[in-house]
């Protein structure tokens, strides 16, 4: 079992193709998770029980079931009720929805960190509820959340190989297909590991910077 550089050169373009898709999926899912997570967090805080209770249950349900099962459900079961999503879209929705329930908790922590006096001041100055959220609460709650959110971004990135189960040709799937036609696992799998490591390390550097930049502002 020895390392073959010529083989590495041969499979590199295919793997880079997969890496591109992996990064794309991560970014798209991150947007879904960030946006949807905020909606879930606000809905869960709602004083109207008809909104807050079902939202809380939905969050518990999604957090309590494996992402892989959810992906299978979205990809293979939804078509039975007439919803046929392309693999990439199904994957982004699955990952985005799953991680939205985690980011919702981050948002909750951030929102609860905004001093009560701010809410009272907003009411005293006659701001409407949407105005309070948009102009007072979210701008203060968001910066301290950024490092925690970025953490989930890295976690999400490392979960993308799950999408190979629903036929998305991301990095892991490309590597498997390369290995399948050449009967060699050592190079493709080592490269996949290396790619993920490099990307994660780069993200960690970004994360440290974000922590320095925004983490302190909250004080």
């Amino acid at each position: 079992m020895e390392w073959d550089w010529a083989f590495v050169a041969k499979i590199m373009p295919t793997l880079l193709e997969g890496l591109k898709l992996t990064v794309l999926i991560t970014i798209l899912s991150a947007f879904v998770a960030a946006g949807l997570g905020l909606v879930l967090a606000i809905a869960k805080r709602s004083r109207n029980g008809w909104i807050a209770k079902p939202t809380a249950m939905l969050i518990e349900f999604i957090r309590g079931t494996p992402l892989l099962v959810q992906l299978y459900f979205i990809f293979f079961v939804l078509p039975d009720v007439g919803i046929v999503l392309p693999p990439l879209v199904a994957g982004v929705i699955g990952m985005g929805l799953h991680y939205a329930t985690y980011t919702a908790e981050v948002y909750r922590a951030g929102i609860e960190n905004v001093p009560k006096g701010q809410w009272e001041a907003a009411r005293a100055t006659n701001l409407t509820v949407p105005q309070t959220w948009i102009h007072v609460v979210i701008p203060q709650a968001l910066p301290p959340m950024i490092p925690a959110l970025a953490n989930y971004l890295i976690a999400m990135f490392k979960e993308t190989p799950l999408l190979s189960a629903i036929t998305v040709l991301e990095l892991m799937n490309q590597a498997k297909s390369v290995a399948n036609s050449n009967y060699r696992y050592i190079e493709p799998m080592t490269l996949v590991g290396a790619f993920f490591l490099v990307m994660s390390l780069l993200s960690v550097i970004l994360l440290r910077w974000l922590e320095r930049r925004y983490g302190r502002l909250a004080k």
């Binding site: 295919t14 293979f76 046929v84 498997k176 297909s177 290995a179 399948n180 036609s181 696992y185």
Partner: protein, 272 residues
Amino acid sequence: MKKTLIALTLLLAPTSVLADTLDDLKAQGFVRIAIANEPPFTAVAADGTVSGAAPDVARVIFKRLGVNDVVASISEYGAMIPGLQARRHDAITAGLFMKPERCQAVAYSEPILCDAESFLVLKGNPKGFKSFADIAANPDAKIGAPGGGTEEKLALEAGVPRDRVIVVPDGQSGLKMLQDGRIDVYSLPVLSISDLMKKANDPNLEKVAPVQGAPVYCDGAAFRKEDVALRDAFDKELAKMKANGEFAAIVEPYGFSAAAASATSRAKLCGE
């Protein structure tokens, strides 16, 4: 010193190492085989019982060789040969068709199960696929095939680009993806598609068989390159069974032609 040792090992290898594999198997009482779950080649029942033509033939032959039991593990087609090389199993009995590049990687037995390739399409074959080249020529057509299987390779060789060859994990998913319109055609050997259609019982499906330009392929039991002695012992029993009709009695109920397997040879299929 080291060099002499290596030379010595190499010299001794043909007898000692190879005889060991069968002796080891006998001593441990079972042989590990790789299977897929693609009836009628290989099948796993809900209670875990392994059947299918390939494991059934292997079970009988190994018993005659003095290995009483087979332990099967399900694997993707593409992972079978690397798994064999990594010693995760001792033989592949899964309908892994002989193709020259596979013959380079493993030691095949003589042919066991022969079948042509086929397409599963929607009723009336709306896109008119008759060959892998037809799929390559239609820029919107997507084909589903097992990962690392013969059909995936045939599609890629015919010029279907990678992003239109969808790797389908198992027969049920392939069927579902065709019904949902995610793929336009699902390719497997004729008998596998027939089996799938029977189970699906869906009047909106149709089989195209045989696929034009794809020859009839045969599989064999595949062993590690260094286990040629084990392969030869396997071949000897297989030849006996082919001659006395036992072979036909096992494979024909599954729909395979015993005559087709006897009419060809490893040498021919491997292009040796």
